[in-house]
Structures are given as C-alpha cells and as structure tokens.
C-alpha cells in the first residue's frame, strides 16, 4: 500500500505546484518574467512526464519493497529513472530560464540513460533478471521513454528562441 500512497502524493503535489505556478504568473512582477514552459505542447509533455513519474516510481518502490534481491540493478535503475522524471516534471511546471536549462540537462541525461540502459539490456540480458523502465529502449512503455526526451529537448530549445525574441 505504501507505494500507492506515495504516488498519490506525487501527483497531487505536482498538480498543486502547477496551480501555484500558473496563477501568480499574470499578477506578480517577479512571476511575469518567468517563461511558462507548460503552455501549448508543453502541457502534453508535462502530462506524459507525470505519467512516467507515477509509473516508474510506483513500480520501483513496489519491486524494491517486495523482492529487492531478485534484480537490484534493474530496480535501482527504475527508481533513478523515476527521480529524473520527477525532477524534469518539477522544472517544467516551475518554468523560467534556470529551470529550462536544468530541464534541458536532465533530458539529455535521460536520453543518455535510455540509450545506455537500452543497449546494456540487449547486449547483456543476464545482468537484468527483471526488466527496468528503460529496458529495450522503453519498449514496455511503447517507446515513450526514448521519444519523450527527444520531444522535450525540441520543445525546450524552441522555448529559448521564443524568450530571446520576446
């Protein structure tokens, strides 16, 4: 049950953060400068990142709490993936230039993670008695893990051009 409660808390906290990030943007002078990263296509990105946070974290917490010894490497990698997703979700919701740069770095790390772990699982399956979120380039998640960082990097780079011209 612990994993269920924890993921429930994650979703509600991101939703709350989104509300607080969305409202003061129009009123507070400090918030006005902070570029919104969740408008337009960014909203879809946040949705998919949110889904991946819940998916990866709940999965790894469940697997670790039931039988960690079976595949410690795979479960730890899933937890790491979940944390990276959670951080990117937070930066997207928060918005602003610093958050945008942090998100860009994390998306690059995420892409590297998917490619390295994906290749690793194919080359040496014996190291992974159980699959991770990033196994086979995220095939178990309809390749969302590999498509997500690519579209996020595209979106974040476009957001930079928009703020530069504005």
């Amino acid at each position: 049950m612990a994993d269920v409660e924890r993921t429930g808390a994650t979703t509600s906290s991101t939703a709350a953060a989104e509300r607080t990030a969305g409202e003061p943007a129009g009123t507070a002078p400090a918030g006005r400068k902070r570029a919104r990263l969740i408008s337009g296509p960014g909203l879809l990105l946040v949705w998919f990142y949110g889904v991946m946070v819940v998916g990866a974290l709940s999965r790894s917490v469940y697997e670790m709490s039931t039988d960690f010894g079976r595949a410690p490497l795979a479960y730890a990698l899933s937890a790491l993936a979940g944390l990276v997703y959670a951080f990117i979700t937070y930066t997207l919701v928060r918005g602003g230039e610093t958050a945008r740069r942090a998100a860009l770095v994390c998306c690059a790390a995420e892409l590297a993670g998917v490619l390295i772990v994906g290749t690793w699982t194919l080359v040496e399956p014996s190291a992974f008695p159980d699959s991770t979120v990033w196994s086979d380039y995220g095939m178990g998640y309809v390749f969302i893990p590999v498509l997500l960082p690519l579209s996020a990097i595209r979106w974040l780079r476009r957001a930079e051009r928009d703020t530069a011209t504005a």
Binding site: M1, D3, V4, T7, G8, T11, A15, E18, G22, I38, S39, G40, P41, G42, L43, L44, V46, W47, F48, G50, V51, V54, S58, Y62, V142
Partner: protein
C-alpha cells in the same frame, strides 16, 4: 462483472481519446461536452474501483497480486480527471491533445488491469 466494466471503460476511454483528438485536429480546446464525456469515463473508472474493492473484500484475489491491482485501479481512476483539470488551464488545441493522450493511457491501463485480474 469486473471484466465487463474493464472492457466498457477501455472502449469509453478510446472514444474519449478519438473525440478529443478530433477537437485538437480542428484546432479547438476542450468544451463543456468534452468535460461531460470525461465525467462519464471517470464515473466508469470509479465504478471499477468500487467493484474491485468489493471483490477484494469478498475474498477474491487478483492473479498478479493485490497491491498492483489496487495501484492500477487508483491510477485509472485519477488518469482522466487529472488531464481534465490540466486542459482547463490550457484553452488551446493542446488541452484537447492532453485529454486525448489521457484516454489512450487509460485504455492501456485497462488492458493491464485485465491481465492483473486474470481474465
């Protein structure tokens, strides 16, 4: 009983995805009728959650474990309302795209729920 609900919810979720996908294609935000559609799908997911809990209370056990089963029931219940609230703040086609994505995610969750319960 649960499998019938799972099928019904999955089909409704796909219909919602197609409907909101159509709205996005026509460059429209989610409107009142879409929110009624989301409410219908959410009620189905809630009925599924309640049915699942009643079945568990009666002593029936899902094939792949109770924790995973309850986690998926909660996830499928939260899925569409979460996207609905997000689309409220985004009055463009991208709000519709997000709800359409939620419909597809819910349909996938229903397939997994079917497997977890054990046919």
């Amino acid at each position: 009983m649960l499998n019938a609900l799972t099928l019904l919810t999955g089909v409704a979720a796909l219909l919602l995805a197609a409907w909101c996908g159509w709205a996005a294609y026509r460059d429209q935000p989610t409107k009142d009728w879409h929110f009624i559609g989301m409410a219908v799908v959410s009620v189905l997911a809630l009925a599924q959650l309640v049915t699942g809990i009643v079945l568990l209370a009666r002593g029936e056990r899902p094939e792949q474990g109770t924790t995973i089963f309850v986690a998926y029931l909660l996830g499928s219940f939260a899925c569409v309302p979460a996207a609905g609230f997000m689309s409220l703040g985004e009055r463009t086609r991208w709000g519709s795209v997000t709800v359409a994505a939620a419909g597809i995610v819910l349909a996938v969750l229903e397939v997994r729920l079917y497997d977890i319960w054990g046919g």
